[in-house]
Amino acid sequence: MTLLQIRNLHARVGGHEILKGIDLTVNAGEVHSIMGPNGSGKSTLAQVLARREAFEVTGGEVLFHGKDLLAMKPEEAACEGLFMAFQYPVEIPGIGNAYFVRTALNAVRKYHGLDELDAMDFLPLYREKMRLLDMDEQFMNRSVNEGFSGGEKKRNEILQMAMLEPSLAILDETDSGLDIDALRIVAQGVNVMRSPQRAMIVVTHYQRLLNYIAPDFVHVLVDGRILRSGGPDLALELEEKGYGWIETEAGQVAPASA
């Protein structure tokens, strides 16, 4: 079943065109990795899919569960089952983690016509997922991400994902800045979530994460276009040779096709 279909997506930020025609199809059960050098548009793609307003879509279309994703507000996309784990999770003083996640979960439930969960129903579930991510219970009442270390913030993202159970999870450089222990915990949290009904897009700069979260497909994004797609081997090849050869290859091909 096709979850996400991106066709010829163009987007710009502050007048600069960043995405220059992306095509990508993601089916349920698949894990796609999007790799690419700095500034290639990886994060822009993630933010556009999460419906960040500052990113202006200038062309193309995106269907999510067959619906027009680009017409959705961020909260609608989230309620439809899209989740983006932030590269830089935001600190929100004064709102507790548990309260925040319960409010979010209830917003999603309400959207689907389900009853809201009260604290009694919610907390056991939340505690269970916290254990999975090796998070101390005192996190529950601390303000969202406030004073968290980089690793704690990323684990908190995965914890939110585990609670919201999205059909499509986009991990935006979730591995960046993590030590190997934190990376293992995060990867384990992600792997537990893998299921035939759920798809994931793992955006990363480094191949390292893919040792822990094995992708079905690897795409290389360079200068706003997917220049190459392949299986897991492509990631290894990139690790070995860097991104240069793809750019060179593309550079040779592009003028010829023009």
Binding site: A50, R51, R52, E53, A54, K73, P74, E75, A77, A78, C79, F83, M84, F86, P89, V90, I92, P93, G94, I95, F100, V101, T103, A104, L105, A107, V108, Y111, S143, V144, Q160, L164
Partner: protein, 477 residues
């Protein structure tokens, strides 16, 4: 500046009528107190913006409105009219309608022996009849600065009723005492729609090692026509006592609300003052603690929430008069549309107040480009071994935070409300848990719901850079 002639006439007329109407019930000392205060008001008049203490607040609209003194009382009010302002688990509720005590609308809980909670007018009458000079004559007007502050003088000139609370030594009142001041200026019970004024006066005396929580709550009933309430509370916290005072101002949007809380703290007395300003057109809240006894501590905490063209002015004067005292001022402002907030935090450390530890923080959230805040710290330090810090910030709702919440499925309005609540929560979090805290929380929550709705398109889409005026410095030594 002296009161302009026309205004003086209007106040003089009110005062003359008032003196006649109350003559028979007024003891000599009170009569003298009023007369002197009125003379001072006439000398000083309403300040202008040239006065440093009033630099950001123009009183022109107040000064040109003639007010009559409201003394109708509660004749036509039913208890059900007051249903919206019911505090759960209050120890007692005193209701004042247009400044006068309404005994039929008030409820007295079971008070511990020796505790007095009554109307000031009855207490004056009682103590006068008992022929004693009593606590009232001893305390009333003793701590106020009627020379510098014309509103205190005006209040004292028209001093008639308000709450009188006396907690004897060693008695701890755990539940709050709720003082509800209802202005009916625009309701059907008022005989004419002339703007009216009230001057509620409260006296709270908490003796050694006693404890009390008092909530002063100013509300309006009926149509919005201009009304002027000018309340003064004198709070005496004796040695080692603990007092929590909460002021709630949520009158309608045509009212002028002035309030002064003068706190006199004895040795090791611990006082927390919490001010929540949510209503009113022109609001001035003065909080003036004097840490007179060694080791006294005060927390001056406040939250002001304005929209439309509301003008909310917070004036703090914290006087450290003894060694080893600590004061904390925390004020958060949320200003929407064209609202204007003022935070004026003055700290005076007197010569002998060594080892003073004073801290002041004012944080502001401006929801539109037209909202305005003037924040002004003013430190006067005459001792040489003290620690005083102050800081102020001005910011907006962060787009990043808003997007983060929305990206988890929370709708935009709800997300804004959560962020506002979080900001307001810093202040609410400083109120000790209990009935008064819950009441304050409900007041703020109700006010924030209206602000959370999205702002006009212009201010939402504009990519306005974060205005972060972060000034923070310390003065030590």
């Amino acid at each position: 500046m002296a009161v302009q002639t026309a205004q003086l006439e209007s106040y003089l007329e009110c005062f003359t009528d008032f003196v006649c109407a109350t003559a028979s019930a007024t003891p000599d000392w009170l009569h003298t107190l009023r007369e002197e205060a009125f003379a001072r008001f006439c000398d000083v008049g309403f300040p202008t913006t040239r006065d440093e203490d009033w630099r950001f607040t123009s009183l022109a609209a107040l000064a040109r409105t003639p007010f009559r003194l409201a003394r109708e009382g509660a004749a036509s009010l039913a208890p059900s009219d007051l249903a919206p302002w019911q505090m759960e688990n209050a120890l007692a509720r005193l209701v004042f309608v247009d400044g006068l005590f309404a005994s039929a609308l008030s409820t007295m809980g079971k008070l511990p022996k020796g505790v007095t909670v009554d109307s000031l007018a009855s207490e004056v009458a009682r103590q006068n009849a008992a022929n004693g000079s009593g606590t009232v004559a001893g305390h009333l007007g003793r701590y106020l600065d009627t020379v510098r502050d014309p509103f205190s003088a005006l209040n004292t000139a028209f001093l008639e009723d308000g709450a009188y609370i006396h907690v004897p030594r060693g008695i701890a009142l755990v539940q709050p005492i709720h003082l509800l001041f209802v202005s009916t200026a625009g309701s059907d019970s008022a005989p004419s729609p002339t703007p009216s004024m009230t001057h509620p006066r409260n006296l709270i005396v908490v003796e050694e090692e006693a404890q009390a929580t008092v909530v002063e709550d100013y509300v309006s009933l009926g149509a919005e026509i201009p009304a002027f309430s000018n309340a003064v509370t004198e709070l005496v916290a004796r040695g080692n006592s603990t007092v929590v005072h909460i002021l709630v101002e949520r009158e309608h949007l045509k009212s002028f609300n002035f309030s002064t809380l003068r706190i006199e703290q004895g040795r090791s007395a611990n006082v927390a003052s919490h001010s929540l300003l949510a209503g009113g057109a022109l609001v001035r809240n003065n909080v003036h603690p004097v840490l007179a006894g060694e080791g006294a501590e005060c927390l001056i905490n406040g939250l002001f929430i304005g929209s439309g063209r509301q003008h909310l002015d917070n004036y703090m004067l914290v006087e450290h008069a003894s060694p080893h005292c600590a004061s904390r001022q925390f004020y958060n402002g949320i200003l929407d549309q064209r609202a204007h907030g003022v935070f004026h935090g003055r700290i005076i450390v007197h010569k002998d107040a060594q080892k003073t530890d004073a801290k002041q923080t004012n944080r502001n959230l401006l929801l539109t480009d037209d909202a305005q805040i003037d924040t002004k710290p003013q430190l006067e330090i005459y001792a040489d071994d003290v620690k005083c810090t102050h800081g102020a910030t001005i910011g907006q709702i962060e787009d990043n935070a808003l997007f983060y919440l929305r990206a988890r499925g929370i709708g935009e309005i709800e997300a804004r409300r959560l962020l506002l609540e979080a900001f307001a929560g810093e202040c609410l979090g400083r109120i000790k848990p209990g009935a008064a805290h819950d009441y304050a929380h409900s007041v703020v929550e109700a006010r924030l719901v209206s602000l959370a709705a999205p702002a006009p398109a212009s201010s939402l889409t504009a990519e306005s850079p974060e205005r972060n005026l972060d000034s923070h410095w310390e003065e030590v030594g």
